[in-house]
Amino acid sequence: MLQGAVTSRVVRGVGALTVALSPHVADVSVPGARPAAVLAAAQPPQTRDQRLYPALQREPGDPEVIARGQAVYGISCRACHGLDLRGGDLGGPNLLRSQLVLKDDGGDLMGPVIRDGQSGAGGSSMPPQNLSDADLDAVVEYIHDVLGTASRQGGPPAGEELELDILVGDATAGQTYFAERCASCHSPTGDLQGIGARVESPKELQDTWVRGGARNAERPPITVSVTLPSSQRVSGTLERLNDFLVVLTEDDGRHRSFSRRGDTPQVEVDDPMAAHREMLPLYGDTDIHNVTAYLVTLQ
């Protein structure tokens, strides 16, 4: 690890160490659980019947029952199915994508399996669990509750934040690359002075320099020169360009548009971002990681 390395905080899927609780059970005290406010803010602002699938549309259960189910799960299920329900070391399958769990209605499918056990697909088998009716109902309710916190496009529920270090590059090699490929436009003591301090995280910094600007930053204007058949030349800021039309604004604010047909009129575009786009096919991932490692040293 090089000098000046900074860790970035990335939201991970369900954590291996804590179970994400949905907002309505956040008053149950579980060490390591994320605060309710954070989870609530992460939920899309929509009513239950606007959510996409039955697992998400389901009405929330009784918080006390869910808390009891979580405790039962921890004792009877966790060793095989994992604390986050995504499968465990003893070979229990991921319950959050289980066809049986997803189709379960109030324990009609899960209940018999929990009570009687079953031989699973791929040679694994589940032993019967000796649970009271109340504990069985509670654990079923708890599993449905976790299913209801799933992310978009089949993603798992958001879990605890995980520190991932994206800084794997060699800053010295990055400095050399920068001098060869970037220094004709950029300077560590000029436009990039203190960039490592100005941009919040190394990941943000990497995204920013590879893209050629922050996500929502205003891009430098693209300028265009149009040479008419009369040899008259009109220049300005490019507004629109396609195969049939070029629209520009002259320095005095005058709006001009010209029809295009093939190479007539002649159109020359000067896009300050073109150099960044042209570099994209040329970077190796190691180059990118090295340059990022170098830029974070520009404090």
């Binding site: 991921n94 994508r97 590879v210 994209l280 991932d285």
Partner: protein
């Protein structure tokens, strides 16, 4: 085998009128009766009134905007029918036309998710409207209806197959085709082959993909073909670390394929493996995801397969409609199938045997493969998976091509496809050795375009014969149509509907009607060639006078 199929009595059917399924065997000309116009997937029309010489005279015949909100029951000029198993409270918002519009007789059948409209082919006037009250699901698009005799049949987002009376819009029946609880969702245009209706579905939550065949008269299931192993004995199981991984391995079937009457094979592409971006818990090639597959239409048995993207980790499904080509390679007449996959590679395959003949990279900046295997499949480079420090990957998640249909002209021997090149930084955010779920576990940052184009590819070599680079900002969105008039129609992504000379890529015509959202189509009405295209919620019909 095909002949037997066609001669089979349709005794089980209560209907005998309407569109004869046998008519779908005819090459595309006067009408547009199935998703790709005909079974070949070529989207090549024999109509030649509109040519490279006169396309400048193509003029607007009519335009119509669809209203995809919940329909009012009163005050409509045309009959409106409402069906469905939902409450009617789920708001689906405004929907774009992103599929094929079937033209049969005097009617056009237009869809958006949960909606079917029958429109008068001469002015776009509404004949009837059917609305389905959904239970939910992602309303990302609908690819169109199938017409079978007097029925119009379509898929709903919440996984029903719905059959309507083609003339009146009244519902005949609906049947569930996949589990909504397991988070399947359905967008595909069903395909009629004889007395089979081929139906696909989608899913993002680690569920097995399948193609099903239903009786188009009754909606009864005829067979179901899983695209991933579902038992320890199934072929392909050796390409998965466990049966559990295979059974959650994806490979959804969500774009229509093509049909070869001579072999009776339906040839289609499958979706990406799941979990999509974290391949750690599904090491191996993950058959039969991202694979071109031929199944016998009568039995649902697989005849051959060719994997276009082994062990995909970028959500680049290979569902794109393949194109059947009767061509000549090295002086030998061959029955072929070509596909331009989402991963940026072009393939030509022998459609009788599945033998790979051509593999080339057509996505100019696609950078994820280490080499081409002896089998012809591109080999994924592990360094281009999502990694914690970020990998620079091209194309972006939408791929070099997506569902938007390509086209092929037997006159030029060229395969026409949009070519979209872009770059993402792809970060692994869930390094859990169990992998993530669905499309989770990564962060994707778009960092720039590699330039988009319309590409004309020689099916024999996979080399690009001509390529029209769109000015920066153009590309994407539109499918392609080609005609015996020597034309290629598509959208430029900058608000123009455009026509090219199919032979050399000269740009001949444009009209600024908004960004094209489906593939252009053509048919003959009252002896005149029409060209139909959608831009968002608006349809435009052009005519040659």
């Amino acid at each position: 085998m095909a002949a037997a199929l066609l001669l089979a009595p349709i005794a089980s059917s209560a209907q005998s009128g309407g569109l004869d399924p046998a008519s779908l065997l005819e090459p595309l000309e006067d009408s547009w009766p199935t998703y790709s116009g005909d079974y070949s997937g070529r989207r090549y029309s024999r109509l030649a009134q509109v040519t490279t010489d006169n396309v400048q005279r193509l003029t607007l015949a009519w335009t119509r905007t669809i209203d995809s909100g919940m329909p009012a029951l009163e005050g409509n000029n045309a009959p409106t029918f409402i069906g469905g198993e939902g409450t009617g409270d789920f708001t689906i918002g405004s929907q774009r036309i992103k599929g094929s519009i079937l033209q049969v007789g005097d009617l056009l059948y237009v869809t958006a998710p949960d909606h079917v409209w029958a429109l008068d082919v001469r002015d776009g006037g509404e004949r009837w409207h059917y609305f389905w009250k959904t239970r939910g699901g992602p309303h990302i698009g609908n690819r169109g209806v199938a017409v079978w005799r007097d029925s119009v049949i379509f898929e709903t987002v919440d996984n029903y197959l719905v059959s309507l009376n083609a003339k009146t819009g009244e519902e005949r029946w609906h049947t569930e085709i996949a589990s909504f609880e397991e988070q399947y969702f359905s967008t595909m245009a069903p395909i009629v082959v004889g007395d089979h209706l081929l139906v696909g579905t989608g899913n993002d939550l680690d569920a097995p993909g399948f193609l099903q065949s239903f009786d188009p008269a009754t909606g009864e299931l005829q067979w179901k073909f899983y695209t991933v192993p579902m038992t320890e004995q199934d072929p392909g199981i050796e390409t998965w670390p466990s049966l559990d991984a295979a059974m959650h391995g994806g490979g959804q079937v969500w774009v229509p394929g093509s049909y070869d009457p001579e072999t009776n094979y339906y040839i289609f592409g499958t979706g990406n493996p799941t979990p999509g971006y974290t391949g750690v818990a599904r090491r191996g090639d993950n058959l039969f995801t991202c694979t071109l597959i031929a199944v016998d239409v009568d039995t649902g048995e697989m005849a051959w397969y060719f994997q276009t993207s082994p062990h995909d980790t970028h959500d680049w499904d290979s569902a794109q409609t393949p194109i059947l080509i009767d061509g000549v390679i090295d002086g030998v007449p061959r029955k072929l199938v070509s596909t331009a996959a989402r991963n940026g590679y072009f393939f030509t395959i022998d459609r009788v045997t599945g033998e790979n003949l051509v593999t080339t990279r057509y996505g100019a900046t696609s950078n994820w493969a280490s080499h081409i295997r002896e089998s012809g499949s591109p080999n994924p480079h592990p360094a281009k998976e999502a990694i914690i420090p970020g990998s620079l990957v091209s194309p972006v998640e939408g791929g070099v091509a997506n569902w938007q249909p390509p086209a092929f002209s037997p006159d030029t021997g060229l395969f026409y496809t949009q070519e979209n090149n872009g770059f993402n930084l792809l970060y692994l955010t869930d390094p859990d050795p169990r992998g993530s779920m669905g499309l989770g576990g990564k962060d994707r940052v778009t960092v720039g375009s590699g330039g988009n184009a319309l590409s004309a590819i020689d099916y024999r070599t996979g080399e690009t014969t001509w390529r029209h680079a769109w000015p920066v900002g153009g590309g994407g969105g539109a499918g392609v149509l080609t005609t015996a008039g020597g034309l290629v129609f598509t959208g430029d992504g900058s608000g123009n509907f455009v026509a090219f000379d199919a032979a050399d890529g000269d740009l001949l015509w444009n009209t600024r009607i908004g960004n094209i959202s489906n593939a252009p189509q053509t048919y003959l009405i009252d002896g005149r060639q029409h060209v139909l295209v959608a831009a968002g919620q608006q349809l435009f019909a052009f005519v040659m006078h």
